[in-house]
């Protein structure tokens, strides 16, 4: 029987250490919503989302109440829209984004992801239409998220897509000037995108997924930080063990919530994403975990090693706690969403170059990084290319969610509000990458892609 101390430990994690379920994300396939008439296709999309996700928010709230653990977000991911809208005559997919926005608002979720295209080896006509629709789609909708996969370890990197995405990000910045370029906070450029990611802004439902599925993302940087406070000065074996045990407990919550949600909604359980996802709240920071390991400031020498240990131990602890693990699974390092990262960037300890190194050993990539408004499209493309190269060579997912802030200079601050936090404008390298990006074509797949 559960004893008092175990009960109090759980309550303490929830009350004081920000333990929560970050998201229940329902994946909905829209492949059966394709139609040669775009109006009909959009109606099918609206109806299917509203039908499948009708009870998602209510069920999430009931589970939250019964288990007494906060479930912060309820979200929807859908099939990449380029695959659905491509059957239609439409020459712009902005109306599809608006339909997603309306449907998501009708069912009451926080975000809907999947205004996406997969172009790692080349574009279809529909992919081009979708990518060209992104700036307007993000500036005229509220909760639609977009992502584009520009490379993978099997296909190499589509450098035409990389070039195009730099331009799309600049265009999105122009269209969302009034909100400091907020549109780009809803846009992710991936290499090795995964099909079952529950986290935004990069969530979409891949074509190998079922018609409807529940994926859950856990969180808990505060819990890990607190656990490490008790082993100050101990060696790295102890640090790793402590993180593993904590990650196990955190992930068990995710597994439980995923199973409950799946059962109550009558939808199959997909995966639990073992992630340490920070929030701007004090005490809910991945950077503070790294500092707890003995670094004066996140970003100093040793940060990459500390993050490698953290990321690996989280996976080892979490994988045993869940029957199916997937998504991105690892520590997230979104700058604007993490109080410790914000502080480190502001004092100059953390640079984009160091963040790039950190992305070699952790989940995902350059995330929620604000750069000066005068950063050129080709420089942004080059940042994307670097990140994609890391993903391609290391067989891991990498992503870029970069936000050029219109009119802002290094050192200024951009407020996004809510979970997206506060972004200090970080310096980029001012030497040009223009001729490199202008080449276009594909970077061939690496030699280790030939495994057959």
């Amino acid at each position: 029987m559960i004893n008092k101390y175990e009960t109090l430990e759980t309550l303490h994690m929830i009350d004081n250490q920000h333990l929560d379920i970050r998201t229940i994300t329902m994946g909905i396939s829209l492949l059966d919503c394709a139609d040669s008439d775009s109006a009909k296709s959009r109606q099918k999309i609206y109806d299917k989302i509203c039908n499948k996700a009708e009870n998602l928010v209510k069920t999430g709230e009931t589970i939250e109440k019964e288990l007494g653990i906060p479930i912060i977000n309820k979200r929807i991911s859908v099939t990449p829209i380029s695959l659905v809208a491509g059957a239609s005559e439409a020459k712009s997919y902005v109306p599809f984004a608006k339909t997603m926005d309306e449907a998501a608002k009708t069912v009451g979720v926080n975000f809907i992801g999947g205004f996406s295209a997969l172009v790692h080896k080349g574009f279809t006509e529909a992919d081009r239409i979708l990518i060209n629709s992104i700036p307007e789609a993000l500036s005229t909708t509220d909760i639609v998220c977009s992502s584009v996969n520009v490379g993978n370890s099997k296909a190499g990197i589509n450098m035409d897509a990389v070039k195009l995405m730099g331009e799309v990000i600049k265009k999105t910045e122009e269209l969302t000037v009034s909100t400091d370029g907020f549109g780009n906070a809803k846009l992710v450029v991936f290499c090795n995108a995964v099909e079952d990611n529950p986290f935004m802004a990069g969530a979409f439902l891949g074509v190998g997924e079922p018609d409807c599925v529940i994926n859950v993302g856990v969180s808990g940087p505060g819990v890990v930080k607190h656990a490490l406070e008790k082993v100050r000065g101990c060696d790295f074996g102890v640090v790793s063990e402590t993180i593993k045990k904590t990650a196990f407990k955190v992930t068990r919550m995710g597994q439980l919530v995923a199973m409950e949600a799946s059962k109550r909604l009558g939808v199959p359980f997909g995966i639990v994403d073992l992630s340490l996802a920070p929030t701007p709240a004090v005490g809910d920071s991945v950077a503070y975990i790294l500092e707890e390991m003995g670094l004066e400031k996140c970003g100093t020498h040793g940060t990459t090693a500390a993050l490698a240990l953290l990321n690996d131990a989280v996976k080892k602890g979490g994988v045993f706690a869940s029957s199916y693990v997937g998504g991105l699974s690892g520590a997230f390092i979104p700058v604007s969403e993490d109080a410790g990262m914000i502080a480190a960037a502001q004092c100059g300890a953390l640079s984009i170059d160091k963040l790039e190194a950190m992305t070699c050993v952790c989940s995902v990539g350059l995330d929620m990084i604000v750069v000066p408004g005068d950063t050129s499209a080709s420089t942004i493309s080059a940042i994307i290319a670097d990140e994609a190269a890391i993903g391609m060579i290391n067989n891991k997912t990498t992503a870029v969610r970069i936000i050029p802030a219109p009119g802002k200079k290094v050192g200024e601050i951009v407020e996004f509000g809510g979970l997206l936090g506060t972004g200090p404008v970080m310096p980029v390298n001012n030497y040009s990458s223009n001729d490199f990006i202008a080449r276009g074509g594909r970077i061939p797949a690496p030699i280790h892609s030939l495994r057959n």
Partner: protein, 90 residues
């Protein structure tokens, strides 16, 4: 049997157990186990209850208990046992 765990944390005073068990009795909730202690100066009580035959739904019971807690100046929570089981038992 459907087990839930009720926790009461706050400043000790006369009548806390009475206040909680009165509500449980009115809602046909059976108490299986009670333990209480003073931890770091705070009254801490844990109760394992069976809510299978509970007359009101879980959310309503949770709200009634939380309200009673506010009146007594303590925090009362009810959670399904599964959250603790899954975290602390393999």
């Amino acid at each position: 049997m459907k087990k839930a765990i009720i926790t009461v944390i706050g400043k000790d005073k006369v009548g806390i157990i009475y206040g909680v068990t009165k509500i449980l009795s009115e809602n046909n909730v059976n108490v299986l186990d009670i333990s209480q202690t003073i931890l770091q100066g705070m009254f801490t009580m844990m109760m394992i209850v069976d809510i299978e035959k509970c007359d009101s739904n879980f959310e309503a019971l949770s709200d009634i208990l939380a309200k009673e807690g506010q009146e007594m100046g303590v925090e009362i929570r009810i959670q399904l046992e599964s959250i603790f089981e899954s975290m602390h038992r393999i």
